[in-house]
Symmetry: C2
Subunit: 112 residues, 2 copies
Amino acid sequence: MHPDTQNGFRALADPTRRDILKRLAKGEHTIAQLTQHFDMTRAAVKKHLTVLSDGGLITTRAAGRERFNALNPDGFAPMRDWIGFFDHFWDAQLSNLKDAIENNNQKDQHND
Amino acid sequence: MHPDTQNGFRALADPTRRDILKRLAKGEHTIAQLTQHFDMTRAAVKKHLTVLSDGGLITTRAAGRERFNALNPDGFAPMRDWIGFFDHFWDAQLSNLKDAIENNNQKDQHND
DNA sequence: GTGACAGGATACCAAGCGGTATCATAATTA
DNA sequence: TAATTATGATACCGCTTGGTATCCTGTCAC
């Protein structure tokens, strides 16, 4: 289905990486530019960018000796879809609650 | 904003835990029931359930000596909202592409 | 009560991860 | 050419984490 789900969720699991994504949402950044905003070395930021790239969440454009990192909005689709699967259960829970209130009884719906 | 974002994303970052959530979507399960489906000990499953609980993604109901673990669909909201922030950029990217095609020019929109 | 059963808690281990230091490489500039 | 700049790559360290083994507590059935 979505082969990058694991790498994507793993990339999102770190607060620094989520912060990087928010910053890239404002436009392309080189590693040096990003590093200015964080209290860590360039090598550490580079590692985070590698994880984000593995997750398909960013793309890189080379220009001379610089490499511009940019958001890849499409890369969020696997995680959005995976989480979206559970929207159905939120709705179902609501409609069950609604039924319970209207019928004034609470069936247990234990399956399995 | 959403204090559980970190614990939530961390909980989703493991494939076993995502599998557990999918199984809980079919109904309540005890630890013993869940353990049957995985190639690991009950203690390991228990640890995963603790992480899922910390992330607010499941709830537990005690009944005698059994403890039924159930999905908490509301717990997905922080992650859904966080990812949803980037939907805007997907739209923006599309409209930029549309403009570029219509105007037949490619402005660079490098900001910062 | 005595077993058997479901679960909690802890110590322990190997692997992974976030981070630094360091060296190497390519491109700009004097 | 030489120095600087931007980045890549690797070795290493400490902490976290996924997993097991083990022991303990509480509950159900005789």
